[in-house]
Amino acid sequence: MRQTLTLSLALSLSALSAAQAQGPIKIGAITSITGRFAEFGKMQLAGFKVGLDEVNRRGGVLGRRVELVIEDNASDVNKGLAAAERLVNAGVPLVLNEYSSSLVKAQAQYLARQKVPALVFSSSGDDITKPGSDYIFRLNQPATEYARAILNIFRDHKFKTMAIIAGTGAFEKSVADAAQDIAKEYGITVVEDQRYDKGLTDFRPVLNRIKAKNPDGILMVSYAEDSVTLMRQAREVGVKPRLFAGGAAGFALPEFVKDAGSAAENVVTATAWIPQLRYPGTQKLNVELKKALGGQDPSYHAAQAYAAVLVAAEAIRRAGSTDREKVKAALNTLNMQTAFGPIQFKDFNGFRNQNPLTMIAQQVQNGAFVPVYPKSVVPRPIKFER
């Protein structure tokens, strides 16, 4: 009796130590924990945590725990490149890449040249995967999709004319330019296209111009700081299209409604992910993210980070190893459902290794976001200004 006990104990102990001897699988990640993009970094860290917890709860990957080696680029591109080099030297199988396109572009290019797969999960500039590279994969929607969601709504409601107000940043330009192309495709006339540089933002002259042209829809692409001001001034100036539409970013954040108050009512916006989606596990994800954020409402950036961890784990599992080439091949054939949405990497329309996921649209009704597009989210009817 005692012998069998000792034997089984010894066996289990050795099995345990054998597993431990392998050590955890380390995946690299670069994000902006400090600096200008710190707010998004915070969201991403929460997403990472929730993702890691889930993967490890299911037993990890290949029998091993999964860990993230998170490097802070302090919102600076040179630090980001130094961080990327550290991760490459640490031998990680792939690197998760973050929010700001100016940082991601340089970081991803470097990783690609070092033949390390880079998984982009938040930055949306079209040119990251267009043309991209064999080693760069993106699971979130590109800027074109941001524009398409809104333009689809315009088209579905037979809008004839529209106006565009967008910042001059890379993201805003991506979305606004895509909107121009799609509008032409759909036969909607763009009566006014005005870009603005950040600074003392007085949108009144622009809004006055637009008011004079009286378009059916207005597409606004701005970051958080401007989206609130824009809506306030639009109400003040008295512009009245049938619909105000935001191209995600500032308009899709929970703070938008809080800070703009009544000015935000009836504003539609494209967004990458909302808790009301019908993917498996979406509700639970929202709860977990909120907990990880200490009660704060998560933005879609958190969900994207979560998805990145899941994708990375799945790719390694499929590859059966942490060899970079095998992981890259695994990413190419990967096809999974997550609480963020379906994920696979395809080549289409000039994009390479891009997840063909569409954007959703939500509208502020009675001070809260409700989904209004597409049909799969069981949308509420849209309320129009006129």
């Binding site: 400090t34 630090k79 130094a82 080099e85 100016s102 290019q109 040249r113 040119d127 805003e172 330009k173």
Partner: protein, 335 residues
């Protein structure tokens, strides 16, 4: 920097501090770096490029005594020129095809010098403060142009296309880039040393110390400043071209922003404008500090820049190298 006029018979002060041996020692240390820290080449390349920027800035800032807060403009000229000329889809038709990066860099230097000539020619007739303000404005205008014009890629910026090899060396290999950046810093040190011994250097010092006196000697201050400006601009643009290759992708918002200009100027000033190696020392120290304490001081990085510049301005106007000079003087060794 106000002191009594130098006594006749003594060598002019400032900018004679920092002899050739110090430069050689510095270069030797920089040369050894990749062998000791071979795993941190990205950091090394970036630091060297910035050291070169600071040295180039100092040709105008230290020698001619003109504070420029718009040098990011020249970084941009160098970066954009090399990249645009190397891209088959954007190179102007009359050139018949993409231009090799070394010619692209040279053209960038020429354009930068041209910009400096025009701009300097117009503004150097004014007193110092106006020049500083004008540098900010010109850099901002350039940034607006880069952001809004489609030919330069607009706000989304540019990606570095494939580049031909240089004598068989892959330009994207960090070791090669380190070598090029090292060459860049060496060049700027060489130029600065040569300035010290040249008539141009003498004239610039005279202008900086006492403009009216210099005019009495037959030196045209405005013309001297313009030449210094052109030299400074060309060198900065060369660094900018290298920077573009290192980054492989850049956007105008971050490449041409005011904080970059300020960073370059501060590196040179904190290191010591009056010394030859000061800018390199400043760049290296600040970069190392920033990287080592990145996690410790995270957001406080720029705060420390601010504190340092304040401290230096108040107590050590000749920068860190200036501290050594003073000590040297006390020991009776340096002049």
């Amino acid at each position: 920097m106000t002191t009594a006029a130098p006594l006749p018979g003594t060598r002019p002060r400032a900018l004679t501090f920092g002899n050739v041996w110090l430069s050689l020692a510095l270069l030797a240390a920089l040369l050894l770096y990749p062998f000791v820290f071979g795993k941190a080449l990205n950091f090394g390349v970036a630091t060297l490029i910035f050291a070169g920027f600071a040295m180039s800035w100092n040709v105008l800032g230290g020698w001619a005594g003109q504070l420029s807060l718009g040098h990011a403009a020249f970084v941009g000229v160098g970066a954009y020129t090399l990249t645009l000329l190397a891209m088959p889809e954007r190179v102007p038709a009359f050139l018949g095809g993409p231009v090799a990066p070394w010619w692209g860099a040279l053209i960038g230097m020429g354009l930068a010098a041209l910009l400096a000539a025009v701009w300097g020619g117009l503004t150097f007739r004014l007193r110092g403060s106006y020049f500083v303000l004008s540098t900010i404005a010109v850099a901002l205008v350039l940034r607006l142009v880069a952001i809004n014009s489609t030919w330069t890629g607009g706000a989304e910026g540019l990606f570095m296309p494939e580049l031909p090899t240089l004598f068989g060396l892959d330009l994207f290999d960090r070791r090669v880039e380190y070598g090029l950046a090292f060459g860049f810093v060496t060049l700027t040190l060489l130029v600065t040393h040569l300035l010290r011994r040249s008539r141009l250097g003498y004239a610039l010092q005279a202008v900086r110390e006492d403009e009216d006196g210099a005019r009495a000697l037959g030196i045209d201050p405005a013309q001297m400043k313009v030449i210094a400006f052109m030299l400074s601009a060309a060198l900065t643009a060369l660094g900018g071209s290298l920077y573009a290759i290192y980054l492989q992708a850049f956007e105008p918002h971050t490449l041409l922003e005011l904080p970059l200009s300020v960073q370059i100027a501060l590196m040179a000033i904190i290191g010591g404008r009056a010394s030859i190696q000061g800018p390199v020392v400043g760049a290296v120290l600040l970069s190392v500090f920033g990287e080592v304490f990145r996690t410790l001081f995270a957001s406080a990085n720029l705060l420390i820049y601010g504190v340092l510049i304040l401290v230096i301005t108040l107590f050590a106007p000749d920068g860190i190298m200036g501290l050594f000079r003073r000590r040297g003087r006390k020991l009776g060794t340096a002049r």
